[in-house]
């Protein structure tokens, strides 16, 4: 619960700071939405028959600002999160959202063909669908009787 300005016209910057500290501690204690090792963005991975999907929560990053690289069994998501304002004179009462440049490489359970990559962003969630190279697809071998 935020009590920004609760005291009306009286502003106590230290109370705000103390509160932020407690909130930060709480943020790290309970599950904040970032990966286990703190890297950003947090991802989920989905496996299909001949393809893999990586979804990433990256609110505030426009589709054009996402830089994707796919190589062998590695996908790298990079980009930049802009601050909510560039105005130096604006007072920032709370800063919890991660900002700045980010880059994260994710190892995939299979090698993927860079020509078979499709990525789309919706409501701040990026979905990258990557297909296995044709020559590496498992082939079904018919067992003949006799």
């Amino acid at each position: 619960m935020l009590n920004y300005g609760q005291s009306g016209s009286q502003w106590d910057p230290f109370a705000e700071l103390r509160q932020l500290q407690t909130q930060m501690n709480r943020m790290f204690d309970t599950g904040s939405r970032s990966s286990r090792d703190g890297s950003w963005p947090p991802v989920n991975m989905w496996l299909g028959d001949d393809s893999v999907v990586v979804t990433a929560e990256m609110p505030g990053v426009a589709q054009d600002d996402i830089d994707l690289t796919v190589r062998d069994n590695m996908v790298t998501i990079a980009g930049k999160r802009n601050p909510p304002t560039d105005d130096e004179t604006a007072a920032r009462h709370r800063r919890e959202r991660p900002l700045g440049e980010f880059s994260r490489s994710i190892r995939l359970p299979l090698r993927v063909d860079p020509d078979k990559v499709e990525a789309r962003a919706r409501n701040g969630v990026l979905e990258i669908e990557m297909g296995r190279p044709d020559e590496e697809r498992p082939r079904k071998i018919k067992v003949k009787s006799n």
């Binding site: 935020l2 009590n3 286990r36 989905w46 299909g48 990256m58 604006a90 007072a91 359970p109 409501n123």
Partner: protein
């Protein structure tokens, strides 16, 4: 526990605990608050929330935002690794008296909810003209 079960035609339809599973766990979304002049902007991360699934309400000078994550699993895939899960983002803020609760503007873009708040007329600094007697 047993009497919480509702039966329909001999079949157990659902329990109360199943209702909470639909909304999933609640998450506290990361928030930035910026003040400039007579404007206060609240920026809230809500990835996976569509504009129609956001609810912003003001009651007793308490501003509550709630957003349900709607990210369907990719069809034909099974999840093999997860760092985030579906659920609901929820957070409440108490509005200072200086904020005009009737003038709150909300927009959602790329999973970021932006609330634009204005200070009430009464709270704005006024210049008082000094008249010569």
């Amino acid at each position: 526990m047993a009497n919480e079960l509702k039966k329909t035609g001999g079949e157990v339809a659902r329990t109360d605990s199943e209702d909470t599973r639909e909304t999933g766990p609640f998450y506290r979304p990361a928030t930035d608050i910026i003040e400039k002049g007579d404007k206060v902007t609240v920026v809230i991360d809500m990835p996976g929330v569509a504009p129609e699934n956001v609810d912003v309400s003001v009651e007793n000078r308490s501003l509550t935002v709630r957003g349900t994550i709607d990210t369907p699993a990719p069809e034909g895939y099974r999840r093999v690794y997860a760092e985030y899960a579906p659920g609901t983002f929820e957070r409440a803020f108490s509005l200072p008296e200086t904020i005009d609760a009737d003038k709150i503007d909300a927009t959602l873009r790329d999973g970021v909810l932006t609330l634009s708040l204005s200070k009430s007329e009464a709270a704005k600094p006024k210049q008082i003209e000094v008249k010569a007697a």
